[in-house]
Symmetry: C2
Subunit: 424 residues, 2 copies
């Protein structure tokens, strides 16, 4: 019995109760959200996780993607990334390794965390094909489905699956061209496979089989965005919208069959197209949870892409995106270090909160901070800060002579000068 089926029958499960309590909404709100597909709660029959609801009316969640590449395989470092992501307050993790021993890495990561963990099964399928048969285009669809089930049994809670890249989507891409090419690895693997083998994407053509597997193992299906723009000039293009339409259609079917669904979105989007992307996604998918990669709002600030994505994510979440994949300062340049993972999560959490201030009118902590600042109550300020440790470190390093104020104004603290005259 899946969560959706329980919800439809009017049953409030333990997971729904936990989400309701954590979010300050009613249990029935969560139950209806799950039943209608506006909310997902990633679970797994194989692993107990910290329950985390994602979707309409809930706090915007932040995902931290970690994982090796062929250039950097260090499982201990991956475990350290898990630790830093959790320390920074990530809500979920995605384990996206493309180098090393997939099984070992996934086991170590899953052992190291109680957060929901996501994966992209086709990475393993394509890369094992390259290892065994010399090229990713020799991937066998049976292996892809087998690996999907195997990863589920390791306790994977949600999977990004690239179902929306089919002949239609590819036609849009070929007819239109692109400035930034194709930057999704899943999208690249699958289009290369389709072109080489002259076959339809098996995740699309055998979608029913895929659903059987996901349903059996209670995996939440996150529809991958293989056509996402890798440059702001490709944002919201026909290929991306075509894929969204296909995924939206498939998501209805998945939901109908009791599989929880999330829709993934771009990517690189200039500020004036973000609202359009969110509204379009919500409309054509019947308000399914929207999982956005930032978006990045400019291409020219490599080294600072966590800040760039925070601008985009603040907007996307304010307009209704539900789930934000973090971006680290190393994006577009290198695989991130654990420190960069930490920074990326912090930037995304700030953005998600900024969005929630609008979307959910969630401003209590801000009000508390305003009062604590007015009252020069530093302990209260640290208590309400998103990162008390860092805030305290900056102040402590430069402690003022008069410890009521701070070194910015020294003796001439605006609040103290006026405090004598006003009683706010």
């Amino acid at each position: 019995m899946s969560l959706i089926e329980d919800a439809r029958r009017g049953v409030v499960t333990e997971e729904m109760r936990i989400v309701a309590a954590a979010e300050g909404v009613t249990e029935d709100f969560v139950r209806r959200g799950v039943a209608e597909g506006h909310i997902v709660i990633p679970v797994s029959p194989y692993r107990r996780v910290k329950i985390c609801g994602i979707g309409e009316g809930l706090r915007t969640k932040v995902n931290a993607s970690i994982g090796t590449s062929t250039d950097m395989v260090d499982v201990d470092m991956e475990v350290e990334k898990v630790r830093q992501a959790e320390r920074a307050g990530a809500d979920t993790l995605m384990e996206l390794s493309t180098g090393g021993d997939f099984l070992e890495i996934r086991r170590r990561v899953v052992e190291a965390t109680t957060l929901s963990v996501g994966s992209v099964p086709l990475y393993q399928a394509f890369i094992e094909a390259a290892r065994k048969r010399g090229a990713v285009v020799h991937m066998e669809p049976d292996d892809l489905f087998r690996i999907t089930a195997e990863q589920a049994k390791l306790g994977t809670n949600f999977m990004a699956i690239h179902t929306g890249i089919n002949y239609e989507t590819m036609k849009r891409l070929q007819n239109q061209g692109r400035h930034g090419g194709l930057v999704s690895r899943g999208g690249a693997f699958m289009t290369a496979w389709m072109l080489h083998n002259e076959k339809e994407n098996p995740l699309y053509s055998e979608f029913d089989y895929l659903l059987e597997i996901l349903k059996e193992h209670e995996v939440t299906l996150s529809f991958g965005n293989g056509m996402r723009a890798g440059a702001v000039h490709d944002a919201t293009d026909r290929a991306q919208v075509q894929e969204l339409l296909i995924n939206a259609e498939l998501a209805d079917k998945a939901h109908e069959q009791g599989v929880q669904t999330i829709i993934e979105g771009p990517g690189h989007i200039p500020v004036d197209e973000i609202q359009t992307n969110v509204v379009l996604q919500k409309r054509v998918t019947n308000r399914r949870p929207f999982y956005m990669l930032g978006p990045l709002v400019t291409d020219i600030a490599p080294g600072y892409d966590d800040r760039v994505a925070a601008i985009g994510a603040a907007l996307s979440s304010s307009y209704g995106a539900d789930f934000i994949c973090y971006v680290t300062p190393a994006e577009h340049l290198a695989l991130p270090t654990p420190e960069e993972v930490y920074e990326g999560v912090m930037s995304s959490r700030i953005a998600a909160h900024v969005g929630d201030m609008i979307k959910l009118k969630k401003r209590d902590a801000d009000l508390e901070m305003g009062h604590a600042r007015r009252d020069l109550d530093w302990e209260r300020q640290f208590a309400v800060a998103m990162n008390p440790e860092r805030a305290r470190a900056i102040r402590d390093e430069r402690m003022p002579a008069d410890t009521d104020g701070c070194t910015m104004c020294g003796d001439y603290c605006a609040l103290k000068i006026v405090g004598r005259h006003f009683n706010f």
Copy 2:
């Protein structure tokens, strides 16, 4: 003869020519902008500066504020802040010291830079009153005007002057109350002075005299925002809007008399009120250049306020703000270090560019980056990056085995996989 008077008579000055060339607009566009008060070009008869236009149709500019406090007086460090601000690409500086020898600091700063430098003359006037007469409330208006002229003669190009805090504004503040109090030092000094002395703000009551001084020394008048919100819950409140109305009225008068004018704005504003602030300012001031402090879009991320302000500044500049005052990661906690000055400028520059992508459709560099990434042309990527040095450092530290790609994807670079099949 002021720039405005030249512009009105149809004369295109050297300054206007420089701005037109730098911005890729016509000389007549700049001339008309100056004549109508939509553009300012801060100058000084006492110092040659790197000419920088601010206003409608021009690239969004970034200011870095530096200066001592009574807790941290180290002139060499201030000079190092100048260096870091310039290295990070700041367009202007404000020297806002409130501790130490004002004259020496200002001289050293002005010597160290060719950028336009701004100041807030009332700081010196109030603090000298405190030093000489025991309290800021003993400030003598004559001293304030004298100091304004003296600072102008040191080569100050623009001055933030708190003219809009008068009995009307104060009434709004007293009648409404505030969550975050009054956080502008200028606003705090002046309201304290007015309440103690039971006198109108001399910058308001003797505005004509102030204008004479500014006109004589060709100082650009930046109308200070003494009532700016220090908490998102105080954003766009009646006190702030009242001050804006007063300043807008005075700005018409100043412009009429040939004094260039900028209007300063908040501060702390939630994402959904930023557009309102920009539209309101542009409307009531007859489209004068808008100088915004970020804005900060949440209060709860001290230690990260450069990122928080970048979210706000990306939006404010996209809606039409012309000039962004940076915020450093130390904001609300301590006076910034030179490193934090650098980070603050970078965050603001990113935001300003993101705004210009919308406001001016300025996206050529982004297009170039998209192409360079698609082509895996790393040197071109670094050349177009806002901070080539940092981007290169991240990549070089983790150089991939295959130097075409990067360590994010290692052997499985999406662009390389697809590059074999598509010819974008």
